[in-house]
Symmetry: D2
Subunit: 300 residues, 4 copies
């Protein structure tokens, strides 16, 4: 950890955004230069009741409609309204780690230590993180890079438990003739996303994903975020399971200050072999939240 | 209603996205041409416990942290983990109409009739809208136009109950030498947003906003969405209150298929007199939801 | 339905409590006369995350702790407190039909018609039932009668889909030498309760339960409530499935005004062959709710 | 604390129910001997949206209807049902400390120490208390004693901030010629309950209640629970505010193992001058919960 290029001192003690400091206007302009046709590709899943979740930490998503047109019209008539304006709303109960989502830097700790040297005991307050909540994350408009490790591996998808190594990443990048640049969002396609809502039991049974060394290799290249088409970015069960749990989360979030994006949808990028694109994502500013469901897009 | 340029037949029976059909690649490219420096301005509020809401339809927002680093480390140690990976999450309970948010076309009805000719009785299902839910709304990357009616009126903000008329809009547009073009997102600044979370009682007591004719004038110019720095876009209490309730919502959503964005933050645009910009917004695909909290941005 | 002894006219139009009118002080005293030793038997399950539910109508139960001792002590120290008073609370999200629970009369309709002749369209308001909510149900202190149909059948439990008939009830009552009296709460043991939280998949796959004629036979004897050790009191799949859905619910609640209690725990009554006892239940007055989790007890 | 009759060693280390050990069959029979007429008095408030709460610890109560008769009939018709069985349910989001409720012994700590010597850090788990949750509390059927300190004071209600002392309790008990016996539930009427839902701002602005010495005097007489018609049982602001916060909670729950019941409704007892009665309460077994809304009753 001490050799990490993104160690806590890089952006100063008490920093709250980590590698997002790399999101300069120049990086934004560079990202936008990837736009040619103005076509927008959606990189997110629909979020609905029954969405897959890693229990118990990721708790159930539940949505119900109410109030309704019918009820609101009845209430408004009772106070004299004549234009029958019906209003429909709903109630959503969720964790922010549902569907396609981004992890806030405060999502993960190494013991009591959070990114920036914050103490978890003093930061994780009952009604939200005092520091490192998702509201601090700036919007991302930058270059996205697709690393299709599934294709490089020769199949439609990698199996659960298959660790993605530095060599795998290098091979896929070489095939697509792309190299990572500072400020990029790296999008790793394992093919595992095909089981999201089509076979949740399998989707949750484990997953292919990067190993800890691959994570360090990626953050060392100054990407601002790493995304994948699975629940947790990292290989599950992990390489040293159960002694070592979630090492990629610990490194990316708590050490390197690099955001993690999960359950990303790259199908169209993969099919059309689009390896670089303009990537956009803006997370809701839920104060003190540990993440946020997002709808990132690629503009090509 | 029958003379409305955006009537239900314009995009065909059963259409689900209305004016969002105008969001073509060309419009996206045109929107992006407003970017010069690559600077990103955030147009949204922080969402937190105690966020203002129009009761009872807009129900409370509540967020609590849990599980925590401490608990997850304890549970993981119990199964043999040695790297003390702590995970923080939270539970959010909300309606989608909290903070800066967008209304889905199915949010509002005229009696039983929703946009596209759908029947509310057959569309408003217990677990989400069967049609016209927010998941259908495409991401918006287009030109944004600021109409600063407060400035044009000569003050810092308009008072609650002050209707914004077509003349007000025309005056403000003339001052800034901008005209609305098809595909634009129109952003109306009344100055009322200064009371969001600083004086919620006042913020909710009423608001300045557009009247029904102004709404029709705007939708007739083929904007894809109308945004404002207040709770409801339209003047409250309404011009014909209580006989006529929420006529602007009825027109924009149920007739014209034009999305409404509320509680937008335009302070920096206003201060720096930026009247046109690249506007970006991508709503989460909560299946069947009647809206979505959003974090729109301006790129300049 | 027209021959039902408990038809809507029995207690007058607009009645809200149905057979609970039978809960007179005399019936209460009679119930208390079943107490000999003062021993209390608990008739309810523990309610916890993962509780069985009939999706989608019965939505998930979710509970999380927060605020915590740790957080509240930190906040109180910050305002000068020195006695380190820690306060733990939690957040529960649920339907009232979780665990051992009682159904309010307004839980079930026959088309638009609810008990007492109320229209569902006019009664089922967005924020609660306008009539027939659980807050109207008086506390029950009366005689409880155990009908152990499983034992009468010769086994530990009946199989899913096994309808319990009038003959089954009569046989079990004869064996225990008990007859139903006005004001009784009838408790039917099928043995199916053994799968609650031990094998939820099986518990929810169907269930043994009374058929529609048995329900009519029971309500005709003026019981105030019918309880069972399963999810729905009635046999599932029903006798005429799928043409006829939930006929026992329709009869008991919407016609007869007899409350239904589900997921009751009768193990100790069964084992000790206690066929009559003092039954006590008081449902929370959640305004407009369609039921309530309860903790009924037997005093013997 | 060391002189407390109910110290942690009384019931043995690791005890989970405290003074509820006093609820023997004999105490139950003694409680039932207070029944003469079989009349039941309800001692609880209706729970509804907008219920008073001590923010932020007590979080909002929110209830919405759904699914509905209309939706469920539509879904059932789609699978072939012909009897139009409509089912209404709701969604409740709450803390257990809403309306008339009981505090679990694990609700309150003195630093890291909970009742029974448990460590809060090891007991307060993310998904519920590992020890001392409300599911451990046995049902209460015992004698209730009304102490009407408001009447003894000569008025309709005591003012907020008025501490109720041992002398106040003794005076009221002397006037009603009642003395506390082991196993009793003591019900203290301050008159403050009149502001529940009639003037919530006032109800929450402070309250009359017992001081720490009065609490110790009560627990020393072996009552099993202390109830009051206010939010917190104890005087607010407290005698030594802000240095000493919630000392009555600390003593009753964490030291003495005596349950606290809040927002009790004693109006009819007070009006009819019923000073002893059979008290019944059975809290739901929400696993690991820190309390439970309850509907206690008096049988007379």
């Amino acid at each position: 950890m001490t050799n990490c290029i993104h160690d806590h001192s890089r952006w100063g003690a008490g920093d709250q955004i980590g590698a997002a400091h790399l999101l300069t206007p120049e990086v934004t302009l560079k990202g936008l230069r990837n736009v040619r046709d103005g076509e927008i590709l959606d990189l997110s899943h629909v979020i609905e009741n029954g969405a897959p979740r890693m229990a118990p930490n990721q708790s159930p998503y539940h949505m119900q409609i109410g109030p309704t047109s019918e009820g609101s019209i009845r209430r408004r008539r009772a106070i004299g309204a004549k234009n029958d304006a019906g209003t429909n709303l709903e109630r959503i109960e969720m964790t922010t780690h549902v569907g396609t989502h981004i992890d806030a830097l405060g999502h993960c700790s190494i013991g009591d230590r959070l990114y920036g040297g914050y103490s978890a005991a003093e930061t994780v307050d009952d009604f939200g993180l005092i520091h490192l909540g998702i509201e601090h994350m700036p919007p991302m408009v930058t270059r996205g890079v697709l690393i299709d490790v599934s294709r490089a591996d020769g199949g439609d998808f990698l199996e659960a438990g298959r660790g993605v190594t530095v060599a795998d990443l290098e091979k896929a990048l070489a095939q697509s003739k792309v190299s990572i640049q500072p400020g990029d969002v790296v999008c790793i396609n394992t093919g595992w996303g095909r089981f999201f809502m089509t076979d949740n039991a399998r989707y949750l049974s484990g997953e292919p994903g990067i190993d800890a060394e691959a994570a360090r290799w990626l953050t060392a290249q100054d990407c601002v975020a790493i995304a994948a088409d699975n629940m947790a970015l990292e290989v599950l069960p992990g390489t040293d399971h159960p002694e070592i749990v979630m090492p990629v989360h610990q490194h990316c979030l708590a050490e390197a200050g690099v955001h993690i994006i999960e359950n990303l949808v790259m199908d169209e990028l993969v099919e059309r072999e689009i390896f670089t694109f303009c990537f956009m994502l803006s997370a809701l500013k839920f104060k003190g939240a540990t993440g946020c469901p997002v709808r990132p897009i690629a503009i090509i």
